[in-house]
Amino acid sequence: MTPAARLDATFQALADPTRRAILARLATGEASVNDLAHPFAMSQPAISKHIKVLERAGLVTRGRDAQRRPVRIEAAPLAEANGWLEDYRRLWEANFQRLDALLEELQAVIPTRDKN
């Protein structure tokens, strides 16, 4: 897969709320398809379909254990999907810009020791 196609697959995989919930669950540790199907009130085949999409995007891998074939999260493609820290940073920056405005407003009312 080209990097662009990979990124596309990652974004497509993440665009679905069930798949994001599956990833959130897997962030706490590997799980079998059965374990994953349980909280979603979904059939095993439906969950398997979602897992296939995540697997194709490289976001999860399946273990070798023939019985359980546990599903594991793969953090690398998420990190590669370059919004990773940048979008996280932007979330904080939005907060800090509101904090800037609030602090300015508070200082306009309360004279601070640094003003002279």
Partner: protein, 166 residues
């Protein structure tokens, strides 16, 4: 200082389980402390992406004191919360608290440390370090910001496509 160069937010990953966010603001740290601990002030800035409000903000800024924040989406009423207990409260320099999601999507508790240092006259540098229970949880927490942003992006795209089709 006459020219007011804007401060920028820096995000680093000092270890596998940590994220550090650094940002300076133009205010003495006593005032920054107030913005971080006063339940009347927190909902005015700690809001995350656009379109969210904080209808519940409870905080007891004492060692052992609890806090609880609840955010609500203006668009569809979706809610999510963060709650925890203060471990260290050292006015006006450091706040350390546990943090867990409500409902617990990420499994487990993280530890959030906010340090306030006056690095120049009237300038406070805020260093926030979040220590997650595991690397996987840290990565998922950071990536969830991306997923939320994309969800909004996809919704805008859907709206646009609906307009085009109409």
């Amino acid at each position: 200082m006459t020219a007011r160069t804007p401060f920028t937010t820096q995000v680093t990953t000092p270890s596998d389980r940590e994220i550090t966010v650094t940002r300076s603001v133009r205010a003495p740290r006593e005032l920054v402390w107030r913005a971080y601990t006063d339940p009347a002030l927190i909902p005015r800035w700690m809001l995350g992406p656009p379109g969210w409000s904080m209808p519940v903000c409870e905080i007891d800024a004492r060692v052992g004191g609890a806090y609880r924040y609840l955010w609500r989406s203006d668009a569809d009423g979706t809610e999510f919360g963060l709650a925890g207990v203060h471990r260290e409260v050292d006015f006006p320099g450091q706040l350390v608290a546990t943090q867990a999601f409500e409902p617990d999507m990420m499994g487990g508790e993280s530890l959030v440390s906010s340090d306030f240092n006056e690095t120049a006259a009237g300038v406070t540098t805020i260093v926030t370090t979040i220590l997650y229970a595991s690397q996987e949880i840290r990565d998922a927490a950071a990536a969830s910001g991306m997923a939320d942003g994309m969800e909004a992006g996809y919704q805008r795209l859907e709206g646009l496509l609906a307009d085009v089709a109409a």
